[in-house]
């Protein structure tokens, strides 16, 4: 990935950035990297194993990362949508970050397993992704790639769930959420979950119980999905991070389809386009309202 490394070294040498946040080889495969010098920049990689969304590292609360100085962050098109969300919601100023867009043909569903990208191994969100490179970038690197388009397996699973009775869906989610221990990994890795005081952490009153029983878990995942409606960019980090294998991607996919169907909106990489929740049209559909 010479082009990326040379650009990273150039940004550091010219002082355009004090740290280039990208990916590097780690003991268990590719992982986030924080290159502050040429030697580290020379270790940056980009390939189909780079599933991690690096946008969370721009969160102002990560003081130890912010202390490294002005960041340049390498973004796939989905990551750029997350950064656009942060800019749109005034968490990051566009001029405070250098964005290095990387041309992407998809990432692996199991980055640690490695292997070649194929219809079987590609991440579900990449199957229907129509962005090859982002417009929200100061530089774009990489060779143009044709995407491996395929129908989304999650869409099929969501359709199966939609066809079930409410009682069947209840049983399904109670079964899956029984494994949730409320470790909050899904929240911590999410680029758009940046609230300094999460609603689930509030205790006067306790809106969302912190206990990992069925009631607390259902309420938590419901509320998080609602708070992310129109904002979630489907980066897949929540499901990847979940140590208990809960199919959170089904919830994110459902929310995205509701927002797309009802409000004609898909999160994009233009910070100027407003979020669908927080805006409205006088002719919004209201067939469900008596």
């Amino acid at each position: 990935m010479t082009e990326l490394r040379e650009l990273a070294k150039k940004l550091l040498a010219e002082g355009a950035a004090k740290v280039v946040i990208g990916w590097e080889e780690g003991p268990r495969g590719v992982r986030p990297a924080f290159a502050t010098d040429a030697a580290a920049a020379d270790r940056l990689v980009f390939d189909a194993r780079c599933a991690h969304d690096l946008a969370p590292y721009l969160d102002r609360r990560r003081v130890h990362v912010a202390k490294l100085g002005r960041p340049a962050v390498v973004v796939k098109p989905c990551d750029a949508r997350a950064v656009a969300g942060l800019i749109r919601e005034t968490q990051v100023k566009r001029e405070d970050v250098v964005l290095v867009g990387v041309r992407c043909g998809g990432v692996l569903a199991d980055p640690e397993a490695g292997g070649t990208l194929s219809a079987d191994t590609i991440a579900d969100r990449c199957r229907t992704c129509d962005s090859r490179e982002t417009a929200l970038a100061d530089h774009v690197v990489g060779t143009p790639v044709e995407p491996l388009a395929a129908p989304s397996r999650r869409d099929a699973r969501v359709a199966e769930l939609d066809a079930m009775t409410p009682a069947q869906r209840w049983a399904f989610w109670q079964g899956e959420l029984a494994r949730c221990t409320r470790c909050n990994a899904c929240r911590q890795v999410c680029p758009l979950c940046y609230c300094d005081r999460c609603m689930a952490d509030k205790t006067q009153p306790q809106w969302i119980e912190s206990s990992p029983h069925g009631r607390g878990n259902l309420s938590w995942h419901l509320l998080r999905a609602i708070h992310l409606a129109g904002r979630c960019v489907d980066c897949g980090e929540c499901e990847r991070a979940c140590p208990s294998g809960i199919p959170l991607g089904l919830i994110t996919r459902k929310v995205a389809s509701v927002v797309a169907d009802r409000f004609g909106h898909k999160p994009g990489d233009d910070p100027a386009v407003p979020s669908p929740i927080g805006t409205w049209r006088s002719d919004d559909p209201q067939e469900f309202i008596l």
């Binding site: 509701v258 805006t279 209201q286 469900f288």
Partner: protein
């Protein structure tokens, strides 16, 4: 824990989140007009449907409500101009997500009821009570926590 049993069976417990300016006033009109309607609702008054956080609906179910009604001003009539427009989008998402996670959508009723629509409020309430009665008690949400 069931609601008060009557001769015909289960009486749903419905929590209604309504806006002060339209639906609350409309409900008051229903009362002063002595319209007969089901007595299963507890009304929570808010300034505007825009104030209704989806967490209120979730909390009501957690606390044992069998059904929820959410009601406010018709579009273009909001006392705060656009609160109900914001709410409309939020409710659309809330409703579909609740259903996706297995909450029967008959348990949640959304309506626009103006200050002069006492009769409509009666119809909304009666309709909601019947739909929720069909669904049965919703103990399962509260009971998810388990006891000692």
């Amino acid at each position: 824990m069931e609601g008060t049993a009557t001769a015909t069976g289960f009486e749903p417990r419905i929590t209604a989140f309504v806006c002060n300016w339209c639906t609350y006033t409309g409900a008051d009109l229903a009362g002063t007009s002595r319209l007969q309607m089901a007595a299963n609702t507890r009304i929570v008054r808010l300034p505007c449907t825009g104030r209704i956080d989806p967490a209120f609906v979730i909390k009501a179910f957690e606390r044992g409500a069998d059904g929820v009604i959410v009601s406010g001003c018709h579009p273009a009539d909001c006392h705060y101009t656009a609160g109900n427009y914001h709410a409309r989008r939020r409710f659309a998402v809330l409703r579909e997500l609740l259903s996706f996670m297995g909450v029967d959508e008959r348990r949640v009723t959304f309506s626009w009821v103006s200050a002069s629509e006492g009769a409509k409020w009666r119809d909304v309430v009666n309709g909601a009570v019947e739909r929720v009665r069909e669904c049965g008690p919703f103990e399962s949400y509260r009971a998810l926590a388990g006891g000692v």
